[in-house]
Chain length 345, copies 2
């Protein structure tokens, strides 16, 4: 007997096609009794569950892959990653696609994982995070012919799909907020310059600082950890001409920087304003609360997942720009006390 | 032609069995050239990749499932979850087992996901997090005959496998530290009483408080969010007889509580000591730094994954107690100023 269709099963079980779909896909919408009957009828008719059937037919694994090449400590410290996953999930669950997820230590292990998944036909496509300069993952991905979407500023290659957010508009908002409060010297504590999005933010920071007539735009590079965020803050505040405002590249470093100001008894926002890139609960619970650039990270993840699923359905690779973040002004930014910053501290 | 074995492929390609295994599983250990040759030979001989082959043979999906039924906001706020995943991954990657991961809104959707995965033969087993009182996931899991390990205090049922940590020893450490500093009134800000582990911690808190001769052990129930952590702290500090120390059930609430003390201008640790259950970067970067109960959450996740994989290899379900956390004394706990706490604030 040929593989039964949903229509065959619906007829045999005396229920609607929709009910069969709900029952066999484990979704709400049918009673437990109906579900049990449909499952029994389907089993008797030799219905083959999806994953095995699709793999056998050489079509779909019904899953996409995501690898984070970061230490567990970095991943757990930055709320960004879990929000990104939640956004990805929101889109996948609509289409009953599974997420296969792995945390590895470096890009070599990441590429090995992609090869293994391809060999096992484990996933149909990949979401590739943290695009970096001269990204050496593009070659292996091409070779594996695995549909992939870069999450973050994608490589310029036309055939590479990606989603990113409009960091220029975001940076402009942040700097205009600070200039509006009278700030003239602003320092940016950036993530690693190897990341594409960090380079973009650095360039925009320099360009817009110049446009707004700010003093020399200084950038300090870090590895995104609280430790380096704190260290950078200390070095900046001890320098001969400390700034009146600091913009951090993530929430973790901003809150760590706030801790340093408390140790040094520097009043925030009286003597120094702080801004975090990416809002999080951490920014809302510190004291003073942290002014932050809030982005819709869930939407960012959902857009990436949706683009990948479209590609699996035969659509061409695209590049999609998601909306810029919105500045959320809180307690950590305030007007410059002019006298305090005319002379070095 | 029958499905070729690794030995057949090794002979045809003129390489070792190990090299074939490395090449086909996408693992390091062979040159790119050898990998390419082995893959070509294997393809010519009709080698069927693992996932499809295993599903077809009705054996293994080669993956285990994990569902978080929490809001994206809670997940991203608590570093616990990503550390747990990292620990799970560390064990899975050793055995080339994939993690299929889904975030859903509630337990109904969680159970629906388990049903769907079972219908699709998507996973071989499940890690079930956040065990709760009268856990209604046990019935469906039994029905699906899906090997499962509960992560956190497992249900008492002999057939249910689980891992948990020794919260009694941890609680004893925390309370002895506070008593050693002269504290007599300690309040616990707990998570939801529906969770098994919260009940266990509540009972231990009451028992050990009594053993150590502390004043009436007060417990305030919350939902683990920063908002309720802050609210509980405010209520506790405004009460007629405020305590000299507060123990929080997670790091997020403890740091939120610290924010409240700063707003109320209550000196920590001069007037009030704070302790967080579960250490995190957040505890290390706030000011003062937060005394915390540090658990090896990665090991907790790895132990759970290892137990599940053993069960998939035919071992019986077990219950495994992982080591107690270790108290990390930092700036947020200090000696009681006796005068300050003899009269209500």
């Amino acid at each position: 007997m040929a593989r039964p269709t949903i229509v065959d099963i619906a007829r045999a079980a005396g229920v609607s096609k929709g009910a069969v779909s709900f029952a066999l896909n484990g979704r709400p919408g049918v009673s437990d009794k109906t579900r049990a009957r449909v499952q029994q009828v389907a089993a008797e008719m030799g219905w083959l569950p999806n994953v095995a059937a699709r793999s056998l037919a050489g079509t779909r694994a019904g899953a996409i892959g995501l690898v984070f090449a970061r230490s567990a400590d970095t991943l757990s410290a930055e709320p960004f990653f879990m929000r990104l996953i939640a956004g990805i999930e929101s889109e996948l669950s609509l289409r009953s696609v599974a997420l296969v997820f792995q945390v590895v230590t470096d890009h070599t292990a990441e590429i090995a994982t992609y090869r293994r998944w391809a060999a096992e036909r484990r996933v149909d496509g990949l979401l590739v995070v943290d695009p970096f300069v001269d990204d050496d993952r593009i070659g292996p991905l091409d070779e594996l012919a695995m549909p992939s979407v870069f999450v973050g500023v994608p490589p310029s290659d036309d055939l590479v799909a990606g989603v990113w957010s409009d960091d220029a508009t975001s940076m402009s908002q942040v700097l205009k907020h600070l200039v509006g409060l009278g700030h003239k010297r602003v320092v940016r504590v950036a993530g690693s310059n190897n990341h594409q999005h960090v380079q973009v933010r650095n360039e925009t920071f320099r360009r817009i600082s110049a446009e707004l007539g700010l003093d020399e735009a200084m950038i300090v590079e870090t590895d995104y950890t609280a430790e380096q965020g704190a260290q950078a803050t200390r070095a900046i505040l001890m320098s001969p001409r400390p700034p009146s405002a600091i913009i951090y590249d993530n929430d973790v470093m901003a809150v760590a920087g706030l801790g340093v100001t408390q140790q040094l008894r520097i009043d925030v926002p009286g003597e120094l304003s702080l801004v975090a890139w990416d809002d999080s609960q951490m920014c809302r619970i510190c004291h003073p609360t942290m002014t932050a650039l809030g982005r819709d990270i869930e939407n960012f993840g959902a857009t990436a997942a949706s683009l990948l699923l479209d590609m699996l359905d035969g659509q061409p690779p695209r590049k999609i720009e998601t909306p810029a973040g919105v500045l959320i002004a809180r307690g950590s930014t305030g007007p410059v006390d002019a006298q305090m910053h005319t002379t070095p501290r």
